[in-house]
């Protein structure tokens, strides 16, 4: 144990530090002003994000239970970044929330769980990380305490995630039984492809699929997204998903290297179902959060498309897309959060004539949605292209064709929102809303990101470099 111990786990230490600082403030119970505290917290989170750039080393700790490298550090920092943006956007909501500090504590705990999950070297740590990120999240979903929908969503989430992790645990136990190891480094050599192991693989995959909202394991998603507070919905759809994708890329795919065919077939079916069903449901949604839930389901299908190829290039594409997806999704969520907090309106129809009263926010929505739809010149175009290119590199043009056609369907519903915002007339549009500094900052970052991430190949090249290290 030495300095290495702190450096390798710096993200985790930093998070824990923040959690405990907040805990101490909470326990002291002397603070009065949410606003100041929010500023303080956001500064802490920003520092945390900056810390993510410092001294990223590779290494293992605790008998390979914990490992890290520059890629993982980068992934963690993506999550840090997203969390920071979400925190900025939650300002309006938290300003008057009784449990502001608890919100941050729980949120950061889940983030901590994700970090451990990403860094996990064996199934035990993975499982603990997963639960650490899931259980407090269920509590967070319930954070609109006096809203019925919030409770219902939390109930659905906690029960189903327990159910899903139960099934996954059964799978893990069978892995243990058939190989005698829980260590990711040792496992690939031990997995030979007996029927029990395929069953195991599928059970474990369902756990992932549940978290990632892969069809047909996605059914909780929409309800939870709808019920949860906007900021948590954003967190679920961005951070939570991204973390699982990172694990999927770095852990699960290599784990079942011996079962490539089955693994690919599973993904094949899942991709088709996910993209199509996600889109079909997104078309008919009235609630904008619910709508984004389904749209994010469809997006996950695209990410899986890249993951199915399983090369460094395709993984690069997946991570690059995740960044773009983060920026775009948070762009929309920022506006939704603001509107929802200021007016309580969450239906798509409420946004009719939104552009007339809030032109800047209207453009934010449009740009973000175009990015999600993969329209140039936004970064989403590049993200989608690379995903599909990655999918095509595997040579499965059926998947690529389905994906490409579904981009058209997805364009339909994204454009429908744009139409609502820009074109539809409304007798009583949403009143002009004043944005606060935090929101401006977060949206500004997202929009700049959306515009420049694609044009400059630097980010992409950097990720690719990380993969080849």
């Amino acid at each position: 144990m030495g300095i290495e111990f702190f450096i390798l786990m710096k993200s985790e230490w930093a998070l824990m530090l923040i959690i405990f600082i907040l805990l101490i403030i909470k326990v002291n119970g002397t603070y009065q002003d949410n606003a100041k505290l929010l500023l303080f917290t956001n500064i802490l989170l920003a520092l945390n994000f900056m810390l993510g750039f410092v001294s990223n080393q590779s290494g293992m700790l605790f008998n390979s239970m914990f490992h890290t490298n520059s890629l993982i550090a980068f992934e963690k920092n993506i999550l840090n970044f997203a969390t920071l943006i979400i925190s900025l956007q939650a300002y309006t909501w938290l300003k008057n929330h009784k449990h502001m500090l608890e919100y941050y504590m729980l949120l950061l705990t889940t983030l901590l769980g994700m970090f451990f999950m990403i860094s996990s070297g064996n199934f035990l740590m993975f499982y603990l990380g997963l639960e650490l990120s899931a259980i407090p999240l269920a509590a967070l979903v319930n954070f609109d305490l006096d809203k019925l929908k919030s409770s219902e969503a939390a109930m659905k989430m906690v029960l189903l995630s327990a159910f899903a992790s139960g099934i996954m645990l059964f799978g893990i136990s069978m892995i243990y039984g058939t190989t005698g190891s829980l260590n990711f480094a040792e496992l690939p050599a031990l997995i030979t492809g007996s029927h029990l192991q395929i069953l195991t693989l599928i059970f474990i995959f369902t756990g992932f699929a549940f978290k990632l909202s892969v069809v047909p394991f996605h059914l909780w998603t929409a309800d939870v997204y709808e019920g949860a507070p906007v900021s948590i919905t954003a967190y679920l759809s961005v951070v939570s998903k991204a973390a699982i994708v990172f694990v999927l890329i770095s852990t699960l795919s290599p784990l079942f290297a011996g079962l490539t065919t089955v693994w690919y077939n599973i993904l094949f079916i899942s991709i088709i179902l996910t993209i199509i069903v996600g889109n079909l449901f997104a078309i008919r949604q009235q609630n904008i959060k619910r709508f984004l839930a389904f749209s994010s389901i469809a997006q996950v299908g695209f990410i899986l498309l890249a993951i199915s190829a399983g090369t460094a290039l395709s993984n690069t594409a997946a991570i690059f897309f995740l960044i773009v997806y983060t920026l775009s999704n948070l762009g929309v969520f920022g506006v939704i959060a603001l509107v929802s907090d200021e007016t309580g309106k969450e239906n798509i129809d409420d946004y009719k004539g939104f552009y007339k009263t809030n032109p800047a926010l209207g453009w934010v929505i449009a740009l973000s949605l175009f990015s999600l739809a993969g329209i140039p010149p936004t970064a989403g175009f590049f993200g989608k292209m690379f995903l599909i290119t990655a999918g095509a590199s595997k040579g499965s043009y059926i998947l690529v064709g389905i994906a490409a056609l579904n981009m058209v369907v997805s364009l339909y519903y994204y454009l429908k929102i744009v139409k609502t915002v820009f074109i539809d007339p409304n007798e009583e549009p949403i009143v002009p809303i004043k944005t606060n500094m935090y929101l401006k900052l977060s949206l500004g970052v997202c929009m700049i990101g959306i515009v420049i991430t694609g044009f400059t190949s630097g980010l992409y090249d950097y990720i690719y470099l990380l993969f080849r290290l």
């Binding site: 329209i375 140039p376 175009f381 290119t389 490409a404 139409k419 074109i423 190949s457």
Partner: protein, 502 residues
């Protein structure tokens, strides 16, 4: 050395400047000045191209510039022009200037309108100069969404439906293109498993015919949707008729050309063997589009619908020319693209200007406008005459070249197709004259038409610009032939490869 990127840079800066404009006047002038500069740049490009060619430069693409963009995927920002692209660029520049002039009196959301228009033109310019398939696709898609917004926000009638239909169908087309491009990409192993999007390099690689047979339809139909290939043309009538004037001009004048250019430059050029195999299908569909479009036009009662369907018919000539795969026919197809772009822009422009004054586009409700709106009505008639292929206008040159080229294919099937295509000029005459006869000639149909004012200076300028462009091709077609002849020859050498291997 000419730097082509300036063609992208000028619209980009214009767009940004438009965004910064503070009032309507500023915005308009900024947009206009930007587009005029672009037009001048295009003309300068034309002359430097001719100078290069005259100096004996026989490279396929001139003024090439490339730099690596996404090196991991071997994506490059790679631009270059040949005569065909220059013709397209000039077309775009002229139509953009005219479109901006005609939209001078835009009432609502000026900034957004001109921004989108400039953005749309940016997509078109980029598309025409790109030599990297990825970049090309990027610009192709860039040109789609502004259309949606232009129609959706400033359109009329059933605009939301039309805009959505247009966007979805075009995106559907580009989805096919995407799959085709990726399939091409992964079939170009240039050593060490490295693939390339480089159009010129791909053209030198012979992709197995069997593979081409799968890829070619994707690319061709994909681009075909943009150019209203039958039966994927239905976005065109609805889209055109709902669009605001400038957007209709762009849509028909530029956007449909993206498809034709893509069919030629990407599908046919890269897959010559498959193009020969599928020639009959293309010819069949193109002829169907020509005849079908013409007859459908005959039945329309709304002027914009009429012109939209006639665009379907006219764009059929482009595809027919490409499908015939003879040099003359392809030259004809290119000229037809330019010609149709100008003429249909003029037509939509004049319809829009008439509509602005009469508030109706129904042929039955119009009449006698020549009396009260002599200038606009004359423009309308000139556009119509160009549309029906009158000598002296560009349409004649283009159509005749296509016919000549098509007739070089001696198979009975192609002959019948050519004759049917020729026959469409009669139907064209019928519908054009019906429309002209009823709407601008005849007695004045409505008392209100007596109180309208004729064209403003911007509108006159726009019309004259387009008419001059049309006449310059119609009277002196040799210059445009000079412009594209060498390049078509180079393309034909590649296509000829397909013929010899069959």
């Amino acid at each position: 050395m000419t730097n082509l990127s300036i063609l992208i840079l000028i619209p980009l800066l214009t767009a940004l400047a438009v965004l910064m404009g503070r009032n309507a006047i500023q915005i308009r002038f900024v947009a206009l000045i930007g587009s005029v500069i672009q037009l001048l740049a295009g003309i300068a490009l034309l002359f430097s191209y001719l100078a290069e060619r005259a100096a004996g430069n026989t490279a396929q693409m001139l003024f090439e510039y490339r730099c690596s963009w996404y090196s991991a995927l071997n994506i490059e920002y790679y631009v270059g022009v040949d005569g065909i692209s220059i013709a397209m660029i000039l077309l775009t520049a002229v139509v953009v200037v005219a479109g901006i002039l005609i939209s001078w009196n835009m009432q609502t959301l000026n900034k957004e309108f001109f921004f989108l228009i400039v953005l749309l033109s940016l997509g078109a310019y980029g598309f025409f100069i790109s030599l990297d398939l990825f970049t090309l696709f990027f610009f192709l898609e860039l040109a789609v969404i502004p259309k949606y917004l232009l129609i959706g926000i400033w359109g009329s009638g059933n605009k939301e439906y039309s805009a959505m239909k247009l966007a979805l169908m075009l995106m559907g087309g580009s989805a096919l293109v995407l799959v085709g491009i990726l399939a091409t990409y992964f079939n170009t192993n240039i050593g060490n498993g490295v693939h390339t999007f480089d159009l010129i390099k791909i053209s030198q690689i012979s992709i197995p015919v069997q593979t081409q047979m799968y890829i070619f339809p994707l690319l061709f139909v994909g681009f075909g949707v943009f150019t209203a290939l039958f039966p994927f043309h239905t976005w065109a009538p609805d889209g055109h008729s709902s669009a605001p004037t400038a957007a209709s001009m762009f849509l028909a004048g530029i956007s449909m050309k993206l498809g034709g250019y893509g069919c030629l430059r990407v599908a046919t050029y890269l897959m010559p063997e498959a193009a020969h195999q599928y020639s009959w299908v293309i010819v069949l569909l193109a002829t169907a589009a020509i005849i079908y479009g013409a007859f459908a036009t005959l039945m329309q009662k709304d002027l914009k619908y009429m012109n939209a369907y006639s665009s379907v018919s006219h764009c059929g000539f482009v595809l027919l020319g490409i499908g015939m795969l003879t040099k003359t026919a392809i030259i004809g197809a290119v000229i037809q693209m330019v010609s149709h772009g100008l003429m249909t822009a003029l037509f939509f422009g004049s319809i829009g200007m008439l509509y602005e004054r009469t508030h109706t586009r129904q042929v039955a409700q119009l009449g006698g406008l020549l009396k009260t709106l002599p200038f606009l009505s004359t423009v309308f008639i000139i556009a119509g005459l160009c549309s029906l292929g009158l000598p002296g206008f560009s349409g004649f040159v283009a159509e005749m070249t296509v016919f000549m080229g098509a007739w070089q294919r001696p198979e009975l099937f192609n002959r019948i197709a050519t004759i049917l295509a020729c026959a469409s000029i009669v139907v064209t005459a019928v519908y054009i004259l019906r429309a002209a006869g009823k709407s601008v000639m005849g007695p004045i149909a409505n008392e209100q038409f007596k109180n309208v004012t004729d064209a403003r200076w911007t509108e006159k300028l726009a019309s004259i610009l387009l008419i001059v462009a049309i006449l310059s091709i119609g009277f002196a077609p040799f210059w445009i032939i000079d412009l594209i002849d060498v390049d078509t020859q180079l393309i034909m050498e590649n296509i000829g490869r397909g013929l010899s291997s069959n």
